[in-house]
């Protein structure tokens, strides 16, 4: 199907199709209270315990904008290198549903708070720009629960009124890998900014995926379908793969594609029609008369700009310059703010005699493997950056061998132990005294005279045998480099 990793093309007979993808990401704003009320946004509370009179749309209740959420949206806009609109307007999106207490969602339609911007994806074959169309603030709805009671639908309004940022991309993506990279990058930027925790399991980040296909090389967009509410990157990729092929098949059969809203069935791995364009809701948008247009000053925006931390793209550049890591390594290290923090802390704790290569390898190798196995975030790492730095220094200054280091690493995980202490307690210090090692090797050669003769006659493989014996005799503590040197000399 695809020619290489950078291209995702669908071939049918003589035709080669490319896939055009745009995303509408719904990101929950990190804020302790809701967009228009003071109710808590904490995840996982008992149903209907975090609901204010405004959230439940009691008569005469009025929305009051949460300034913190506005700041969060603007910060996100700055992170997306986007235009911040000094004047934006909240509109009502009208529709009836049991988990929408007001009978309308307060959203931004014509005048969003953030305009066009750009996200840079670090793809294997180089950077790729994805345009941002807009970012607007809106309320989340409550949750309808259909499977708890045989007769009734139950409604939980805890989520009702929680602030969301809807981030709309341009149709700039062409492959499922780009979609994955885009979502990860958005998530990364927002986590750096502290504007969205990016937790997909808790629904803090979900996306509607817009897909169309066209003959490769064409500059006309095909009819698109929107796949609603996909909540994991893996599912997005699966849905795109299914949907793109479905559309190509239709075209190949001479049929037309209906513009419609579809949903992705994760069990059957297929998309299904939810509603056609004709059945689309008429949301009857109009400016919310309970809220004045939202106006922010240049000063307000500048103040927020001053608060923006170093973002992934800049951090990556700095890591390459300052720490001399490769672009590939830098991308991995900055992809998550906590990884970047961890790395920088390790570097700081390593002191003067830093070994970046070792630091990168230990973090992205051993540590990532452990975290992966235990399903932990780096912020929950069983080994602190301080102790990992110590371990790396012990390797660097020859106190222990890399092999011993792995043993120590395992031991360190039990309560974040100090590697220095482990080395001392278990006597794992590397033997680097040449005289002692010479004596040890003399004894081995003496004990294995026949093998030594065979080696001298050309059976070079036996060299490994002697190294092994030396390591064994020293309980693994012998400095392997010295062993090699001495063995070569003596044999």
């Amino acid at each position: 199907m695809s020619k290489d990793n950078s291209e995702y093309l669908i071939e049918r007979y003589d035709n080669i199709y490319e896939v055009v993808i745009g995303l509408e990401v719904h990101a929950q704003v990190t804020s302790s209270s809701k967009l228009f009320s003071s109710a808590s946004t904490k995840f996982g509370a008992e149903p209907n315990t975090q609901v204010s009179l405004v959230d439940a749309a009691f008569p005469g209740m009025l929305p009051v904008i949460n300034e913190y959420c506005v700041k969060q949206a603007i910060k996100t806009g700055i992170g997306l290198r986007a235009k911040i609109n000094k004047r934006s307007v909240f509109d009502r999106k009208n529709y009836f549903y049991a988990d929408l207490p007001q009978g309308y969602q307060i959203s931004q339609f014509k005048f969003p708070i953030v305009g066009e911007g750009t996200v840079i994806l670090d793809m294997e074959n180089g950077p790729k720009e994805v345009g941002i169309e807009r970012l607007h603030l809106e309320q989340d709805a409550g949750k309808s629960i259909h499977d708890m009671d045989p007769q009734n639908t139950l409604v939980d309004l805890n989520r009702s009124g929680v602030a969301l940022m809807e981030i709309v991309s341009k149709p700039d993506m062409r492959t499922p890998d780009e979609v994955s990279a885009y979502v990860k990058k958005l998530r990364s930027i927002m986590r750096y900014l502290g504007t969205c925790d990016g937790n997909m399991q808790e629904g803090s980040l979900r996306a509607d995926v817009n897909i169309s296909v066209r003959i490769k090389g064409s500059d006309v967009l095909g009819t698109r379908c929107e796949i609603k509410n996909v909540n994991s990157i893996k599912f997005m990729q699966m849905a795109i793969d299914y949907e793109a092929n479905r559309q190509v098949d239709l075209i190949e059969e001479g049929k037309t594609i209906d513009q419609e809203t579809r949903l992705f069935d994760t069990k059957k791995n297929e998309t299904r029609s939810m509603r056609s364009k004709e059945d689309a809701h008429d949301y009857r948008y109009f400016p919310d008369p309970d809220l004045l247009p939202l106006e922010v000053t240049d000063e307000f925006i500048e103040k927020l700009k001053a608060d923006i931390p170093e973002l992934p793209d800049d951090k990556k550049k700095r890591f390459i310059d300052q720490f001399k890591v490769s672009p590939y390594e830098a991308t991995i290290l900055v992809s998550d703010i906590d990884t970047a923090k961890y790395f920088e802390e390790v570097v700081a704790k390593m002191g003067k005699n830093q070994d970046m290569k070792l630091a990168v390898n230990w973090i992205t190798g051993e540590l990532f493997a452990v975290l992966n196995n235990k399903n932990l975030e780096i912020s929950q790492s069983p080994i602190s950056a301080k102790n990992l730095a110590k371990l790396i220094n012990l390797i660097k200054n020859g106190t222990i061998s890399g092999k011993i280091a792995k043993t120590i690493f395992e031991l360190m995980m039990d309560g974040d132990q100090d590697p220095q202490k482990i080395v001392e307690e278990k006597g794992l210090k590397q033997q680097s005294d040449p005289k002692a090692l010479e004596a040890l090797i003399d004894k081995i050669i003496n004990d294995n005279r026949e093998k030594a003769i065979e080696y001298k006659q050309g059976k070079e493989k036996l060299f490994g045998f002697f190294v092994g014996q030396a390591m064994k005799a020293s309980s693994g503590k012998a400095n392997p480099q010295l062993i090699n040197e001495i063995l070569k000399k003596k044999l």
Binding site: F58, G60, M61, L62, Q102, G103, Y285, F286, L292
Partner: protein
């Protein structure tokens, strides 16, 4: 006892402060008269026994520094009152008891007043005759067969019938001023943003404004002083310097320029109204005001624009009454069926009509032609006033194109009913303050009102004008207490 109920608010306050009357005396007097006035159907919910308890409590430790010390007040049933049923005149909220208090009513209680009960009104304040209330129409104390006007009909009837010394209404397109005019009472619609909308059942958010209703201008000024406040719970509330309206009240209006808009001379306007207006102009002159002819060229578009904007907002504001969370719920086969049955049984005809109009004008394909155009008209109407106010301080017009009409007369003719708002709606569209004061009677002895429209935030100015003119007019309401047996 009837002596007490005929006293103005200002006099009641004076008597209580001088300890000539207790809160209990006053409260019991108004309750007794209210009890005898059930035929008017002014109340939807009475809270009399609580009121007496509160009055007694007040008298035990009277705080006489308050602006409304121990004064009993009945309020329109559109204001949410904590633990007291609030219906908005609708079946859909027939049994709704709020757990919260509107800012405006809270301000009244904070000033020392005591709740008597909740007053009848058109359903969701949609109506000009109080005939759309689920709780039945209200009779005008002026004459049995007359409507009291609407939507604050219960409020107007209660003040003119002396069931409450003062009251508050809400005015979206004339709902305070028209019933005031129909009942020979004073009603002020403040500048949009003067009184908080928090806790008021919404009709059309960009137009709704609470305001005082009273027997005279002085009382009106005092009540406005109490209810107007900046409120962070209402994002459209405006933080401007509010006067002590009653203290600053003056009859000296010498040299004030009053505009007479030619466009308010509408076709088919009864001669009596024309004459009343002329008389009003003379009164104003007598007070030392200067009369200037002005033009408000877009006036004729105000009513159609209003009947697009108001229903549009209403259609969305009333979406929350869906049977899911509170209020009336009809049984349904499924969610949609439940919605349909709840809303068709829970809302009356007029409310349903406006929801349909509003839904239509906002729907895709019609939005630009109706809603957007109406908003443009609204801007033009506001510009008209801005232009006029370069030349004048206030504008004088009739409050309504007729005196109170008969019950049932316009019930089945919505357009004719809507036309009753012709002089009042431009003010709401422009967000300006306006007061209606009783200024004369028609041939049948039914009261007629004059409207004074002011500049934004200049409530003091129009209260002063009204105060001065009231003195010249010396209006006497012809009420015979016909309903008291």
């Amino acid at each position: 006892m009837s002596d007490i109920t005929s006293l103005s608010l200002t006099k009641l306050v004076k008597n209580i402060k001088e300890k000539k009357l207790s809160s209990e005396d006053v409260t019991k007097a108004f309750i007794a008269r209210s009890e005898k006035s059930k035929e008017l159907n002014s109340y939807i919910t009475e809270d009399f026994s609580n009121a007496i308890d509160k009055a007694k409590k007040f008298d035990e430790k009277p705080n006489l520094n308050l602006k409304l010390p121990g004064i009993p007040v009945a309020v329109k049933d559109l204001f949410c009152t904590k633990d007291i049923r609030t219906t908005a005149g609708s079946k859909i909220l027939e049994n709704f008891i709020p757990t919260y208090e509107s800012t405006v009513t809270q301000n009244i209680w904070d000033a020392g007043a005591i709740l008597l009960g909740k007053l009848n009104c058109d359903e969701f304040a949609m109506g000009s005759s109080n005939e759309t209330s689920f709780f039945g129409n209200v009779l005008n104390p002026i004459d049995k067969g007359l409507v009291p006007g609407g939507s604050s009909g219960g409020s107007a009837a209660a003040v003119s019938g002396q069931l409450t010394p003062i009251t508050i209404g809400t005015d979206t397109g004339g709902s305070i001023r028209q019933p005031a005019s129909f009942t020979g009472t004073v009603g002020l619609k403040p500048t949009y943003g003067s009184c908080s909308r928090y806790g008021i059942v919404a009709f059309a958010s960009s137009l709704d404004q609470a305001g005082p209703m009273s027997q005279n201008v002085e009382d009106c000024a005092l009540l406005q002083e109490v209810i107007s406040s900046y409120d962070i719970k209402d994002s459209t509330s405006i933080d401007f310097k509010r006067n002590e309206y009653s203290k600053e009240l003056t009859k000296n209006i010498k040299g004030k320029k009053i505009g007479i808009p030619k466009e308010y001379r509408v076709e088919g306007m009864p001669k009596e109204i024309e004459e009343l207006w002329k008389k009003g102009i003379e009164y104003a002159k007598d007070c030392g005001a200067e009369i200037i002819d002005i033009s408000l060229p877009h006036t004729s578009y105000a009513l159609p624009a209003y009947y697009i904007v108001a229903p549009a907002e209403a259609s969305s504001n009333l979406a929350r009454y869906d049977g899911v969370k509170y209020g009336f719920r009809a049984k349904g086969e499924n969610l949609i069926d439940m919605y349909e049955k709840t809303r068709s049984q829970g809302f009356g005809d007029e409310v349903q009509r406006r929801i349909m109009i509003g839904t239509y004008v906002l729907s895709s394909g019609y939005y630009d032609a109706y809603y957007l155009k109406a908003q443009k008209v609204r801007k033009l109407i506001k510009n008209d006033f801005d232009e006029a106010y370069k030349k004048v301080d206030a504008i004088l017009t009739p409050s309504t194109p007729s005196s109170a009409f008969k019950i049932g007369e316009k019930k089945n003719d919505p357009v004719s009913m809507y036309l009753n708002d012709i002089f009042t709606v431009p003010v709401n569209l422009a967000g300006l303050p306006a007061i209606s004061i009783p200024a004369g009677h028609d041939a049948a002895g039914h009261p007629l009102g004059l409207q004074i429209i002011g500049k934004a935030f200049k409530e003091q100015e129009i209260l002063n004008l009204a105060y001065a003119m009231e003195d010249k007019i010396s209006f006497k309401n012809k009420i015979t207490d016909w309903w008291i047996k």
